[in-house]
Point group: C2
Chain length 347, copies 2
Amino acid sequence: MRATVIHAPHDIRVEEVPDPAVRQPTDAVVRVVLACICGSDLWAYRGESARKPGQRIGHEFLGVVEETGSEVSGLRPGDLVVSPFVWSDGTCDYCAEGLTTSCPAGGFWGQVGSDGGQGEAVRVPFADATLVRLPAEALSDDRLLAGLLTLSDVLGTGHHAAVGAGVRPGATVAVVGDGAVGLCGVLAARRLGAERIIALGRHEARTAIARTFGATDVVAERGEAAVEAVRQLTGGHGAHAVIEAVGTEQSMRTAVAVTRDGGTVGYVGVPHGSGTGLDLSDMFDRNVSLRGGVAPVRTYIPELLPDILDGTIDPSPVFDLTVGLDGVPGGYKAMDERIALKVLVKA
Amino acid sequence: MRATVIHAPHDIRVEEVPDPAVRQPTDAVVRVVLACICGSDLWAYRGESARKPGQRIGHEFLGVVEETGSEVSGLRPGDLVVSPFVWSDGTCDYCAEGLTTSCPAGGFWGQVGSDGGQGEAVRVPFADATLVRLPAEALSDDRLLAGLLTLSDVLGTGHHAAVGAGVRPGATVAVVGDGAVGLCGVLAARRLGAERIIALGRHEARTAIARTFGATDVVAERGEAAVEAVRQLTGGHGAHAVIEAVGTEQSMRTAVAVTRDGGTVGYVGVPHGSGTGLDLSDMFDRNVSLRGGVAPVRTYIPELLPDILDGTIDPSPVFDLTVGLDGVPGGYKAMDERIALKVLVKA
């Protein structure tokens, strides 16, 4: 089959690789229908996250089950399924607690030895526990299908940030980061009942989506000026709940600074840089909490899926460019240059 | 009157200072009966926290109301009261939320222009909101009175750490720090229903108190060996809830390392050192949260006081040396040299 392979920073190719096959009785093979490119894939693309030459890439996909192992009981060939960005066994203590990302038997699509999502097909370990069935009718609805694809990462990750930040009905929320995760954080905060949502961002196409998703205010300033603007919007105090969806020292610094005393930063931006951006003395004096991490999106799918199906939320606008598999390298370039927000891949 | 004054690092003196008097109609003057020396006072003593020469010191005291301003309605001369380590106005949004330490009109005993707790008397701003009345009978019970004094800081601070760490009935808790706050963290965790409490410490007199307070296990190792020991005691996983009660980079590093994936570090050690001790990438991968800060102990007094009065908890063993006011400088020396755990001052 054909799949996306990363050879070196900025060297992403679509090439012939071995066809996936059922190896364990708990495996399934999924023929990919939709995949996409994630902001976090760019860290690998830019060489800021190490990859071995020849590793696959892509961790978000949905598709049709093609083959199942003998112990797979909940899925059959022909089922439409979405995959979270890590697989997990569904039986360990962490899976039982909902922290599927800490499953000792779990793994991340594209890690050495596994398929990536940006390809024609994927061998899925622990298929019963990992995959979630979707209604077959969705296959004929492009917008719905794109929305469902966000369950694989960005919607669940935005939701994780909102939950971590303690978003409750009536809350004031600030969102640092105007990428797909930040925008999904806006959508998730709105869904959880936030009354006021302040989106930080200066890219008008993105802030327009933020407003569609529920942002009540947009702050285009950066750094100190952004902090000042958020404080002005919140009576000088800052926001109870702050979503950090970038992962740089500067974004973390901004996130803490716009948090109201006693509030929480829900962080889901993959941390980059040598420092943390955290001023622990300031956090201590103001009782600012930090909660988040890699999102156990598998756990959130059953809660979020019905709201996409019934139209309560529509995350599909995060995709603003669609390519075929051959267009994936160009998709990386477009996202790296911030020409595209998030690239949808029709496999 | 006589009060403790800090002139320079290691230069603590008890000397004559102006008598406190009611200046605002919301003030009260409290004649100190008991005060004490806090582990955090040692940061000033050692010169690691800046103080202006001549500042007062001491932020924990209980005593008898001597005089009240015209607007003080809930207290009268002769009342026995305990004071939290910050005063607060009781009327702002933060006070209403229980975050009294963020009250814009609040302050810390010993700050420039205020009295400190280690003296004969203290002018207390916003007396109605700040002070909490105690039963007069406690005056004749030395052990009970010492226990009630811990409401001014260390018990409420240990409780704040336990609450921040998310201690729930049945939880496994690890406590980093064998000072009075760490020990009170053990007591608070036990009170909140923790099933297993692992105290990290090698000072036998202190770990004996930890066991009295509810610790089920003691880990005497340090650094990597301590982390390994806690992991062995917890099936390889670490503790759900971890109390950090020291404030150094090393203690924070240990606290994060012994936290189970998905768990929380409740930190109340005043942060010291240029770095945070936080490995944000590790915390991200394992969804380890950080929650805590300066404890709004005023808010906790109504909840904790009845349990001291009825004997459910007895925090008084944290005091292992009693001095008169003249003995305060020697008390600092004893705590600095770890000869004393916590020094009680009979004013």
